[in-house]
Amino acid sequence: MISKPSLEKTDETKEKKKSHDYREIASQVLSPYKEMFSWFNSFTINFIKKDASSSFSSSTSMQSIFALIDNLAPRKVERNVRDKAGPFFNQGNEIGVLLTHGFSSTAQEMQELSHLLNEENGYTTFAVLLAGHGTSPGDLAQTDMIDWYKSFKEGFDLLKQTCSKIILVGHSMGATLSLLLAANEPVDAIVTMCAPVKVEYFMQDYLFLIADLLKYFPRRKEEVALMDKHKMLNYRVSSLKAVDNLLELMEIARDEIHKVTAPILTITAGKDKRVPLYNAEKIRSQVNSKIKEDFFAPESHHTVLFGPEKQQVMREIQRFIKTVI
């Protein structure tokens, strides 16, 4: 008599447990799709806002639809340089330091280093703004590696007018460009920070095909968080066409790098997920410089100038310039 209801109860609890299990399984199965949906939303939102400082979570479905339409038929491309993103020049002595930012970044990235080199060492510093950067991802998509090189070369020519000795300091893609310039123009020293010459991206050989369909791709969450934290003006989305151009730039660098003869300092970051450590080894082994030095920042990410070891990195750059000049 007593056992029946208790049995029923246990059945109910079992059913509840079962349904709970099913829910758990369903949620587990659906979680990647949820992630994918949030990715899609964040991508479209960043796109529609022309990648303003938007967080990944804030989005509505309507905005997503508008963004999708916008992706099919893009509107006018914004070409005005954003506030604080432009190039800057600090007059100093006859030793000139040409600072170059990385892919999708701006000259703002080099502000602290430029200030330090100018104030403490008295060097003339010039931070260039590469073509298509500091404006909008749409603008970047319409430029290629030749445009980036030309704008960098313009900066070099300008600095050459006032300085007798020139040192190139570049971060990431800016460092690759520095290597290219050093291979074609006489420079006195090069400092490369996390310079890529060979990377392995998923389906990178077919990027030119994918770039037709998907114009922009969102940056990683942690990267965006870092950009927000340091109020960086980097683009929150990457143009796939521009990424394809970046890969071509690396290909050019691999062919030209042996021409480099100036003293070189390669800086690498231990937690760099973008540029593998073997890139620095490859650079050092292929350049024909007599002085080759390396500095390793084990706790830093790709953006070494914003990492925990930025002071050490900047001191190392100062020391290297002093020793080679």
Binding site: F89, K150, E154, E256
Partner: protein, 184 residues
């Protein structure tokens, strides 16, 4: 590119100012020299979809007012021209707005159209031809050849300059420009 003017962050271009005023005769001459394509008027974005909508309504009305009205929602045949119109509009819209994705959007839609033709042919008898198909094999073959295979093959087979060649050419051009500027 952006580094010529360091202090000026605003790179907005000024509108071109044309000081020379064109006289009436030149304007007339210019008008007569325009090609056929220049003379086609342009429309606001809503004109084409609205016209397509009106045509669809017209087709629906004449279908419904004529017998037998036995098919779904009393519409016997109007589904096909309406579907065809919308399909053609969507394809042409995508291809004209984003010609670079035509090589993939076109084939996908052509495969869809082939599937539709295949289904149509299989649904209606006699189904006694090759692979139970009666008439669809010819349009399907044409769609797959010209709408799917040829665009994909031509896209993959496109000639591309080597990055290093492009770079060396650009470097040479820059050096030549520098020499010209120095000689001036």
């Amino acid at each position: 590119m952006n580094n010529k003017n360091i202090t000026n962050h605003n790179t907005e271009e000024k509108p071109l100012q044309n000081d020379e005023k064109l006289d009436e005769k030149t304007i007339k001459e210019f008008a007569t020299k325009r090609t056929f394509w220049d003379r086609i008027p342009t429309f606001k974005w809503w004109v084409t979809p609205l016209n397509i909508g009106l045509i669809c309504i017209f087709l629906l009305v004449i279908d419904i007012v004529t017998l037998p009205n036995t098919a779904f929602l009393q519409i016997d045949w109007a589904w096909w021209p309406i579907g065809g119109l919308i399909f053609t509009y969507v394809v042409s819209f995508i291809i004209f707005k984003r010609p670079e994705i035509a090589w993939i959007v076109g084939p996908i839609l052509m495969v869809g159209a082939s599937g539709l033709l295949l289904a149509l042919d299989l649904i209606f008898p006699p189904n006694d031809g090759f692979w139970k198909l009666d008439w669809a094999i010819i349009p399907i073959a044409a769609l797959l050849t010209f709408g799917v295979l040829i665009p994909i093959v031509t896209k993959f087979g496109r000639k591309k300059d080597k990055p290093i060649d492009k770079f060396r050419k650009a470097v040479e051009e820059m050096k030549q420009q520098e020499l010209e500027q120095e000689s001036d």
